[in-house]
Subunit: 224 residues, 2 copies
DNA sequence: AATGTACTGTAACATGCGGTACAGTTCAAC
DNA sequence: GTTGAACTGTACCGCATGTTACAGTACATT
């Protein structure tokens, strides 16, 4: 008779305005201070209400954490898969996707997410996997398809290993800014800076592959 | 009269075999589980002895952490600055430095260090800065100097923005493996895989800049 | 033999943690 | 007006944390 709550934990598990509020606050908190340093007390201090309510909606701190990562990840991957390259020419498409990519990657939301994921990828291997699949891998794949589609069309662009090519393009674009932002707190680049950076990478990238088609008869860059 | 230990904390602060043992064990522990999850109790369980000894040599958990990061960082940056490119031609030099770089970056030691640094760079901004300066920035600089030295010599290689070129080379080489290893626990590449990967990147990179010198009259890739 | 230093073992401290219990409140639906 | 579900506030549990205190041991130097 006693411990009714232990059997039926007082609350719903699915939709709820309160649940959303808690989740939202948890997102901010986890992204800011990380998993270990984020306490449930601090959470309710921000969102208001009571610990019991939190535990009515989320079984664990771990489950709450998973929900947080899912939430932010869906934001990011939605933004990423929302990039539509249909109708773009090769150069314009690369410029377009490049600007979006660099903007997204260096955004505060994504940097905080990446930090969180990298920090906890050992303890929660799932979230590392999910992040990689729904983030970088997704971007690589989209780029790779686009490159393949334009492999014979314009200019003298031809690519044999489109996956590697996509990774190179993204890496040239992203790597330095990403790491700088993760390690030292560099500010995200402005729209103008992004534009210029992408232009340089696109030009260099196209030159790289244009040359291969014109100067060498066959074969791509052997990689994997 | 009482609290003598509080004034003079019983032990030495500099050289000591015990201190080294503690530091070594702390390195392993912090690298494995991160700052928050590493407790002093776990530490002494691995190294033996007593908590008091730890606190005789290190004022804080934070100070101990800083010592750990310094230690591992010096290992890494020693390995990095130990790469001597004198006497190498352009292509061979890039191949050589590329192989070392990729090997170093994907090594367990460095990946664990990077994870730790990225995870704590918010709470300890210093270590993020130190890592970046003694790691990536140092590598970029070395590469950049090497590229500039060979900018007019062999082939038709010419570079106007050697810093950007160095970053691009390193990024193409590193980014994907680095991120994969951080997020999903990909195994480090074998020596053979490294060799092949670097060859591909070197060829593509040289083609990229060779083209610029032959097809365009002036100017590099505008970037920053 | 005496001294002083490095170290050990154990216990304690204050604090904060995740998580639970429970009584009380709000409020919409019937 | 009654019911019942969602929520709040507070107090609590057990436990682990960083850190300190302190009494005792090992040992090299004088």
């Amino acid at each position: 008779m006693q411990q009714i709550q232990a059997i039926k934990p007082t609350g719903p598990a699915k939709t709820s305005a309160k649940r959303d509020a808690i989740l939202e606050a948890a997102v901010e908190l986890f992204l800011e201070v990380g998993y270990g340093a984020a306490s449930i007390n601090t959470l309710i201090a921000h969102v208001g209400g009571s610990k019991a309510t939190v535990y009515a909606h989320f079984e664990n701190k771990e489950r709450l954490f998973e929900a947080v990562v899912d939430e932010v990840l869906s934001e990011v991957s939605t933004a990423m898969s929302g990039i539509d390259l249909a109708g773009f020419g090769l150069r314009d498409g690369l410029q377009y996707v490049g600007e979006h990519l660099l903007h997204l990657v260096t955004s505060k939301r994504h940097i905080d997410l990446a930090r969180l994921v990298i920090a906890e990828a050992q303890r929660f291997p799932e979230i590392g996997r999910i992040y990689y699949d729904h983030g970088p891998a997704l971007a690589y794949k989209g780029l790779s398809v686009f490159l393949l589609e334009h492999s014979n069309g314009e200019g003298s662009f031809r690519v044999t290993d489109e996956d590697t090519a996509a990774a190179w393009f993204a890496s040239m674009l992203i790597h330095r800014s990403f790491l700088e932002r993760l390690c030292i707190g560099t500010e995200p680049p402005s729209s103008r800076q992004i534009e210029v950076k992408v232009e340089a990478v696109v030009t260099a990238f196209l030159d790289m592959y244009r040359l291969r088609a014109t100067m060498k008869s066959e074969g791509g860059y052997p990689c994997d």
